[in-house]
Each structure stands twice: as structure tokens, then as C-alpha cells.
Symmetry: C2
């Protein structure tokens, strides 16, 4: 055990997140802490709200940040929306869809699974079919960008189908927010959560969320108490929506919020539509370069997450050794496969601050060297 | 709404936390992020574990950090230990004891309250009496330093009483860890949680926890599933206890962990017993200076939290105006009363990096000026 100050290596973070961040974000995080009820901090919270509304493309009043990572956001949305016995349709095409099923069951919901092949977008007809035989479904949940496979689903279409059957729609945009087109209001997404360390290009540890009036009404009309205090929307509203008079809920991590604020400012300065375009363009360049060195995309064209490219591991390659050499020789982190794709794919992120030609060159050259 | 980079005021944080931190902690937090499975990050996690064992005075293998604030720690411990219908004795002498009751009830436990006057240490006989008429109690929970009142309970004694009745003991050391004597193993505390921004002198947003073998066995032997995925000890163990091979749970906030690591190093360098002594000595000085300017301690001698001093607000004072003037004129934050003590007391923190004579002088002079 070393009792020296920690000096992290200068890694090139091109896995599924975290990614590298603009030095301005790190500078913001190192500013002096503030109290969670300081008037200046409350102004910052208001600014964060506005910036997140811009980022989510929503006018939802209930748009704020949870003081924990994206997986807390997943649990928070589910625990507020689901009452014991509620029927919940979960579209599963990868590891994170499976995690949603686990959470639904842990909190007493009845999960009905729409199963998709790992690496494919959810087929909308499958959701329609399952809804037809489950007309008593209360909530439909789906992952926009399945981080474990690299597949992007058409959540606009899925949301339309679910709404026609009067479901409340919950969407996971953990990997897509800030990097891929998302229109929360236009697409009628009722509850949405994300993370800070991917498309938003901040450090890990925060989960932006947004709730429509319809989702909030459903939560207010629950017949049973929300089975969490920390995640209870009603209590969080007292802290986030209270105008000048805020009700203490938890001690907000001020320095984390500073970082997210700075990252969102940078995103707004670029313009979110420009950020979406940048991710698409760099993704196309990266895929063509990967093909040149013999690495084939795992996901069919048209279903790929722009900011997280998955490639098949060529036969006869010791994939863990490759990743380890990339890390030790080139300081480059790429992601391993998760769940049933372990050993079969690599996951290469080009997210936020990292979605640029320099990183593409660096990654391709390192891969060429090691393979 | 301002779209400028955020520049926090240089506040003197002398409320109930957050407190000011050593600039080295902020510097650590601004280092480059690492992936949550990076071998170097796993080394850092191992170091954090060792440092926390030192800080908690425990050999518990299950000693780690939750990626959320202290209030998440409270919920995490309760949701793992309690099954629906379990009888839980909660000692309540303030706001945070009440919060525990709320959580116990939200997750389906049966809370039996040992009620103490706000501002007093829990009277051990009261716990004994309630245990005598509730021999089927599974868990006894108490707050060491009740942040809302300034009263410090004798949790060594409370733990002894609860253990003689075969209870599992859960202790909240949110405000005391690092500032007040705590011996987790010696005192037989089975599950313990804290926060990062008080005695540990880091920024807010993390919750150190530790679990005895007895607590872990009780969790493993549950008959019903843990009603949380994010807080499930079994899943967190896969990430924290996995040796070189870690199972991904959530994306750890690397930069927060850097900060905590640095803060714990600073604490170890001082020596925790020296830190305890420093907090006691500065507390005595502060109380005598407060008395000189006519501010009387709210809590009787012998029951006071050294690092969080509560004083009665003198008659005829507009307490909110005083706090606002301290903030605007002197950049000094002190805490208001919470719950039934709102308007009746102020809470003055002398924690971690702030427990020194310079801060005492600054606070006293500012109070003299404003009162």
C-alpha cells in the first residue's frame, strides 16, 4: 500500500466512459466548495436546470441532477414510477436492459421482457406485439444507446407505440445524451435519465434526470409509498424546485456540480446540434479507419451508436492481452465486451471531448501497433 | 441566467458541513479521470479501503465508499439490513434520527422509537427499557453525533446494551468520523456509515461504510431480496472486494475518490488520535469565546459534539438576518436550526481543515461585528 498522493496516468479514455474531459471542467471542479443552501449555489442549481433543459430538449420543470452515477438514475426513475405489482415492459437488447429487469423485480414490479438480439436495435413491432397481449401494462422502458452492444434504438418510434397503449415511457439515455439527437418533449419521453461522463464530457458521478407532468402526476397518485427516501422525487422537488426557499434534502456535492455546469456550458457554446453532427462525422471516419485495419463493426449500419463503436474481435486474438498492451504501452483504454459479448467485441468510445480526429488517429495507430 | 463559468465566493464554511478543505484535496480532484476498472484505479480503491479501515478503527473486509452522499449511506445500510416486518429500534434525539425512522418505514420495517429530548445525548436506560419490552428487535440504530442538535451520544454504551439483546447495531457517524473518537471494532458497531465533507475534510458526495462479519452474514441470510440494486451489498462486494478481478457495478466517480484519498492521507499524516484531540481543544476554546460574546451552548457540557457547536439564539435577534449578514459581509456560513430547533439555535462547525484558532478568531470577530 502506497501512502503517497495519487498521480493518475495520462490515459486516453476511449472505452464506454468515462472519457477524457476538457481541462476547464477539471479546473471548475477544483474551485472552493459551497454550502448546499448558499444563495450562490442555488443560482448554480438554477443554471444547471436551464442547461439541462437545453440538453434534453425539454421544458419539464422537473429537470435536475441526482448526486450519484447513471445507475442511480436508473433505479431512481424505476423506484418512483413502479408500485408493487405494476406491469412493466422492458425492452432488452443487452446488459443494461437486463439490469432494468433486475431492478423492476427487486422493487416488486412485474417485468415483461421484449427480447432483442444483442447488437440490434429493438424491433418496434416486437414492442407492439407484447403490448397487444399485455394491455394492462403501466410502464414501458427502453435503452436508447445500449452501451453493452453498440446498438441504437429508435426511441421516438418506441415511445409512440407505448403511448398509443397509454403507457408511461421511461428512456435510458445514459450513453446518448449530448452525443446523439434526443428530443425529450417532441418524443414524449416521460421519464429520462443519463450520466455525466459520456456525451456530456464531465467526470463520472452525476445523473441528470427529467420528468414530464404526466410522470410526476403518476408518482403523486401512487397508492403505496416510494420505497426509497434518497430517491423520492417528492423530497428532491423540495430541494430543486423551491425557488429561493429550498428544503434541505442531502448535502449536494458542490464541486461535482461545478464540473457538470462547466461541461454543459461548453456543450451549449458548441451548440448541441453541432455536437450531434460532430459525433456522427467522427464515427463515420472511425469506422472507415477501423475497417482499413481489419476490424469489422459488430452492429449493422443504421443501428450504430455514433459515440460508441463496437467491433468484432478477430479470430485467434487474445483480446485481454490486446487491451492490456494498449493500456500499458499506449495509455489507451478501450472497453471489453460485457455479459454475453465478453470476449467477442471491443467497445471504442469517441465521446464528447474525445470525439475528434486526433483521438481517431491515436487509437488507430495504437491498434495497428498492438494487433 | 448567467452562462459564464462559475466562480464560487471564497466562503468560510462554518456550518454543519460542508467545510473548507485543504487545497491539496481540490488539487487531487482536478487530476485526469481514470476508468473504473483501470488497474491503477483499483490500486487507489485498495488504498482507500486501507485508509478507511484506519479511520474507522476496524479490520472489517467490507469497508469501502459509496458513490453518493452520507444520506445515501443511511439508506444503503438500512435497505440491506432490514427485511419487511423486521422490528428496528431507532433512537431519536433530532432530525437525523427522525429521517432514519422515515426510511425504516419506507422500506417496510417496523420502527420502534426511543425518544430523547432534542439537544441531549440518548439516555442508555431508555434504550434498555424499550429493548426489554421488545425482545424481538432485530436491529438497533443510533446517531453518534446528531447534526441537528449538537448532542453526542455514547454509542459504545448503546452498542453494548443492544448487543446484550442480540441486536445488530447500526451507527450513523456522519458528523463524527475523523473528528471524534470512534472504535468500530472495539465498540462492536456492525454497520456504520459516514460522509466525506465533515470530519474527513473532503468535498461532499461520498459515503464511507463498514460492515462487520455479523452484519454481512445477516444480509446474506435474508429471506427476501434487497429492495435496491444500486445499494445491494452483494453487488458492491463484487466491485470492491474482487482482488485483481473486479465485477463492474457502477461507474465510480474517479475524481471524487482522488479527493477522498488525499483527505484521508492528510488525516493519517496528522494521526487520527491527534485530530480527535485537536477538535476537542478547539471546541473548548470556541465555546469559551462564544460565551464571552454572550452566546450560550445549547447542549449540556459532556454531551457536546466537539466539531459542531450549537448555541442558543439570544432573545430579540432576527436569526436569519444575522446569518445573511455573516454571509454577505464576512463570507461566513454558519448553520440554521433544523426541524423543531429552527429559529432557536445556530450550528457552528469547526471541522477538519477548519478546526484551528484562525477560524475561531474569524468567526468570533464576525459574530461580534454582526450581533
Amino acid at each position: 500500500m502506497s501512502y503517497k498522493s495519487f498521480k493518475p496516468e495520462n490515459r486516453f479514455l476511449m472505452g464506454p466512459g468515462p472519457s477524457n474531459v476538457n481541462p476547464k471542467v477539471l479546473e471548475a471542479m477544483s474551485k472552493l466548495p459551497l454550502g448546499h443552501l448558499d444563495p450562490q449555489f442555488i443560482e448554480l442549481m438554477n443554471d444547471l436546470k436551464s442547461l439541462l433543459k437545453y440538453t434534453f430538449k425539454t421544458e419539464n420543470e422537473n429537470t435536475f441532477v441526482l448526486s450519484g452515477p447513471g445507475s442511480l438514475g436508473m433505479e431512481m426513475c424505476l423506484v418512483n414510477l413502479i408500485e408493487p405489482g405494476d406491469k412493466v415492459i422492458v425492452c432488452v437488447g443487452g446488459y443494461f436492459g437486463n439490469r432494468m429487469v433486475q431492478i423492476v423485480e427487486k422493487i416488486g414490479g412485474q417485468a415483461v421482457v421484449v427480447k432483442e438480439k444483442w447488437g440490434r436495435a429493438i424491433e418496434p413491432q416486437k414492442l407492439e406485439d407484447v403490448l397487444n397481449v399485455n394491455p394492462d401494462t403501466k410502464i414501458a422502458v427502453f435503452v436508447h444507446a445500449e452501451t453493452s452492444t453498440g446498438a441504437l434504438s429508435n426511441i421516438k418510434q418506441l415511445s409512440g407505440i407505448a403511448h398509443r397503449k397509454s403507457c408511461i415511457v421511461l428512456a435510458d439515455v445514459v450513453t446518448s445524451l449530448g452525443a446523439v439527437d434526443i428530443y425529450v418533449d417532441e418524443w414524449n419521453l416521460d421519464a429520462v435519465y443519463s450520466c455525466s461522463q459520456k456525451g456530456l464530457a464531465c467526470t463520472a458521478g452525476m445523473s441528470p434526470v427529467t420528468f414530464s407532468e404526466r410522470a410526476v402526476a403518476s408518482i403523486k397518485n401512487r397508492k403505496t409509498p416510494i420505497k426509497s427516501w434518497f430517491n423520492d422525487l417528492n423530497l428532491l422537488q423540495g430541494y430543486w424546485n423551491g425557488g429561493a426557499k429550498r428544503i434541505y434534502h442531502h448535502t449536494a456535492p458542490s464541486n461535482q456540480y461545478y464540473g457538470l455546469h462547466e461541461a454543459l456550458l461548453i456543450l451549449k457554446e458548441e451548440g448541441i446540434e453541432n455536437a450531434w453532427r460532430r459525433h456522427k462525422e467522427n464515427s463515420a471516419k472511425m469506422i472507415s479507419r477501423l475497417k482499413q485495419i481489419g476490424l469489422e463493426p459488430f452492429v449493422p449500419e443504421g443501428e450504430r451508436i455514433p459515440n460508441l463503436i463496437t467491433v468484432k474481435i478477430p479470430d485467434g486474438i487474445d483480446e485481454a492481452k490486446v487491451r492490456s498492451e494498449l493500456l500499458n504501452k499506449h495509455n489507451l483504454e478501450i472497453g471489453a465486451g460485457l455479459g454475453e459479448l465478453a470476449g467477442k467485441i471491443w467497445r471504442i468510445g469517441l465521446m464528447g471531448y474525445n470525439s475528434n480526429e486526433k483521438m481517431i488517429d491515436y487509437c488507430i495507430n495504437a491498434l495497428k501497433d498492438v494487433l
